[in-house]
Structures are given as C-alpha cells and as structure tokens.
C-alpha cells in the first residue's frame, strides 16, 4: 500500500526516487499540523536516541534536527567537535563507533570532507543522515527548499528556477540541482565564471553569467551564501563588486515573474547576496524555509527511524 524509503540512511538526494521525495513531502504535511497544537510532541520515536555530530559550525540545521527529533520524543545528544575527544586526536570512525556503542539509533553528521557520511554508513549499524558533507550534498536542505517551492507554487512542472551565486563551493546547490531537475524543474545557474564549475554538461542546466538575463521570467530565485570562510573571496575581485553584479535587489526582481519567490539557505550575508529584503518581503520564502525545515526533518526521521 505505502511506499517507503528503500535505504536506511539519507546520504544523498541521488538515492531518492521521485516517489520517495513526494512521500517525504506528504509526511511533512502531517507533521506541520503538529506545530499548531498545545502539546507539539508525538511519541513515535520514544526511547530512541539521535546524536548530532557536527564537525563544522551550524545553527539552523543542528537546531532544526534537534527540534524535529524532540517533537518525535527521541532523546537528542549534540556533539560539537571543538569540545569533544576529537580535539584529543580521536579518529572519526572511533568517535562514531563510540557513539553507536553508547546506544545511538541514528547519527546526523556534518563534515568538511565529501563522502564522509557514506563512508560511515558502511561501517556502523545505526541510521546515518547527511547534514552536509564538503562540497557534495546537503539532502535535507534540498528537500526543504523543494518543499517550500511546492507549498508556495503548488507544483514543480514547468517552473523556472535560478540558482544565483557561489555554485562552485555549494553543496546546497548540488543537492538542489539534482532534486529540482529530477522533479521536472528547469534550472539556470547564475554567477561569475570563477564560481561556476567547469564541467556542468551532465547536470542538465543552463549557465548564465549575467544576473539580469539569469532571473528573467524566473518563478523562483535561490540566492546562495557567499562562503567567506571557504576563501571564496579570492575567486572574486571584491565583495562590493560581487554585491553590485550578483546581489538580489528589488530592482533585479522586477525582471523575474511578478510572483517570484526568493529563497536563501541562510545564514545571509546581508547587503551582499540579498539587499533590501524588507522591500520584497512578500516574495521572500526565507522564514518559510526554516519553518518547513522542521517538518521535513521530522518526516525524514520518522520514515527512517520509526520502524524496524
């Protein structure tokens, strides 16, 4: 009767079929209803333990997973590597095996190296959820971005989306490109040549270097964060020039469709990739993304961990 996630991990949107993605969206709908209740908790993951293991800084993803797990009644433990045995030189695998031996049923991992969650998933018995690995994938972010688009636009078919900014260093962009094209959305990458990967042939996308041309007739404009901590600044002449050429402003949005939706995975460098957000408030889906993110992560945790 029902279709389920075939994998017991969530490592990449590549592993998800369109049916599975739609199943996650449908499940998220039910969980969003919970946030309007007096008691926002349900007992579905009671007695299960989820560990948040973050080797990179994060506020919204970690908090979002924590709230999602707690609303499902799971116990949540947060490990920030700067305050853990990792600084004493413990290896990644030892850390994860220790967490598993302590009785964790699931681990949410963020790591600066691509492929780490997948490597871990082949070596442990608990569920592994990728919360961002290097430049490769950030599957729950892509799912919540798609879900926000679905909720605001009501469909995927025929939509035109522009992803603007530092595509080269963005795992969010990679996950989104995979998921959006799979759902039949036309994707345009917009950014300076230095920040767009050399080979985008297999991606099924259009590449545009001029922002005005890039946002033309777009239903959704997805601005990416300029990752200043990854030395992105050395790929562009100056932040000021980048802001002038690629910043999303009310003027630029007039070129897009009248009902254009603006998304940003956060945290925003205000005045650089997004300018004067207050003046296009009704077009912004940025806080929706945060709200829907909890529902998406509850759906993922429920579908992965409630059974078995």
């Amino acid at each position: 009767m029902s279709d389920f996630l075939t994998s017991s991990h969530l490592l990449s949107v590549e592993d998800l079929t369109t049916d599975e993605m739609n199943g996650i969206f449908r499940t998220a709908d039910s969980f969003l209803d919970l946030s309007s209740r007096t008691v926002k908790k349900v007992p579905s993951l009671r007695g299960k333990t989820l560990v948040n293991l973050f080797y990179e800084p994060s506020t919204r993803t970690r908090t979002s997973f924590e709230i999602a797990a707690k609303r499902l009644s799971a116990d949540v433990i947060n490990i920030t590597t700067s305050q853990s045995s990792v600084v004493k030189g413990e290896s990644l695998l030892d850390t994860v095996r220790t967490i598993e031996a302590l009785g964790a049923d699931g681990v949410v991992i963020r790591h600066p190296s691509s492929g780490v969650p997948e490597w871990i998933s082949r070596r442990v018995g608990c569920h592994v959820i990728n919360a961002g690995d290097g430049l490769r994938e950030h599957p729950t972010q892509a799912l919540l971005d798609l879900y926000t688009i679905l909720k605001r636009k009501g469909r995927f078919e025929g939509l035109q989306v522009a992803i603007v900014g530092d595509i080269l260093h963005s795992r969010v962009a990679r996950s989104n490109i995979r998921a959006l094209t799979r759902m039949g959305v036309r994707v345009r990458l917009v950014g300076p040549p230095t920040l767009i990967p050399q080979d985008t042939k297999g991606w099924n996308v259009e590449v545009v270097h001029d922002l005005k041309e890039g946002v033309r007739d777009c239903d959704v404009v997805m601005a990416l964060r300029l990752q200043l901590e990854r030395a992105t600044a050395s790929f562009i002449p100056s932040l000021k020039e980048y802001a002038r050429l690629y910043g999303i402003s009310p003027g630029i949005l007039r070129i897009a469709k009248p009902d254009v939706l603006v998304l940003h995975p956060g945290p925003i460098n205000r005045g650089i990739e997004i300018q004067d957000e207050e003046s296009f408030h009704s077009h912004s889906g940025i806080l929706d993304q945060v709200h829907f993110g909890v529902g998406i992560r509850m759906a993922v945790l429920y579908l992965l961990m409630a059974g078995q």
């Binding site: 389920f4 499940t27 709908d29 039910s30 209803d33 349900v42 579905s44 429920y302 078995q308």
Partner: protein
C-alpha cells in the same frame, strides 16, 4: 463462545455467494437502524447535543462519525461538531514493524477543550487503537469527557477499555476478520476467516 447480547443468536449468517468463507452478518437496513439507535442513545446520555464533538478514528471511524453526526443533527435540528484523528504516530507497535506506515490527515476543525468527545470507531477489538486516540486527545487539550461509540464490538480486549455505545456485539474468533462497509445503501458487516499464508519452506 457466549454472546453478550442475546439477540446475537438470531444473526443471519448468510453465506456470500461471490466469496466462499465470507459471511454477511448485517445488511443495510439493520445497520441504518443501529446508527439511528446509537444517535438517540448518545443524545439521551448527554442530554442533547450541546458541546458534543464526534471524533472518528481513521480509517474506519471517519465515515461512521459522519453518519452519526448527520443523524444527531437531523434529530436535534442543529449542527454538531465533527472531526477525525489519525492515530499512527501513537501506535505501540511502530518499532516492531519493518517500516513505518504513511500518515493520514487528522481533521479537527475545533478545539477539544471543554467539549464532550464521542470517539467513534467501526470495530472495537483489542482496545489498542482507542488507547492511542485517548493519548492523542489529551495532547490536544482538555475535553470535559470522552465516551466511546463503536458499530461492532467483537471482544478480545487487551486493555481495560469498554464502549459506551455499541451497535452490535458479535462474538468472533481471533482467526476471523470483521469487515465493515458503510457505502450508502450498500452497508454491510461481514465475517471472514483470516487466510493464513503457508510458509513455502
């Protein structure tokens, strides 16, 4: 097995010609009369429909709750609150299943606070679904009271739960399945023997 309701002795166990092993226990007009009687009993016990809130347990209780609400409305001449709840997230067997079931949509248009809740299900069996629904209701607010209405009570309770309003008590074996269909004009209650699939090994 002893039946609780003496009238059970007269159950017309009519074999279904289209499906051998399936016996039709109740037919449309009998079911319609049962629903009508239950509506009157609910109104009598609660002295009218003031603050009544009929809540069907999905999947089977949704349609019955709607039918009872329509009856009550016809008798009292004013609308009665109606909703449905999906108890999947409160099930006690989630962690024993290979994969979790998909969720259905609960629809509760009004708050349950200060309401007289009539929980409605088609078949009362182990009582575990009712336990789930009670826990869910308590998480939603504080109803004045909760009563339980079921079309069929088939016995085999595993929890100390009983119904306040019963359409019919039907003694069953654990290897049997009670099938309720409330499709208008074609309502039936049938008894099937559970087919045990033989292990090929």
């Amino acid at each position: 097995m002893n039946s609780i309701d003496p009238s059970d002795a007269s159950l017309p166990l009519r074999p279904d010609s289209s499906s051998p092993g399936r016996k039709i226990l109740l037919e449309s007009d009998q079911i319609e009369r049962m629903i009508r009687r239950m509506a009157h009993e609910i109104l009598e016990r609660n002295q009218g429909s003031c603050d009544l809130y009929l809540v069907g347990i999905l999947q089977g209780g949704g349609v019955l709750a709607k039918r009872l609400a329509e009856r009550i409305q016809a008798i009292e001449g004013k609308p009665v609150s109606l909703g449905t709840v999906d108890i999947t997230l409160y099930r006690d067997d989630l962690s024993t299943r290979a994969s979790p079931p998909f969720l259905k949509e609960s629809l509760l248009p009004e708050s349950v606070d200060h309401k007289k809740i009539i929980l409605v299900d088609d078949v009362l069996y182990t009582g575990r679904s009712v336990r789930c629904a009670l826990d869910l209701l308590m998480d939603l607010g504080r109803p004045t009271l909760v009563q339980l209405a079921v079309l069929i009570d088939r016995g085999h309770r595993e929890l100390p739960i009983r119904a306040d309003f019963v359409g019919k008590n039907i003694p069953t074996g654990r290897d049997e399945v009670v099938e309720v269909s409330l499709e208008p004009q074609k309502e039936t209650v049938a008894l099937l023997r559970r087919t045990i699939e033989k292990d090929p090994a």
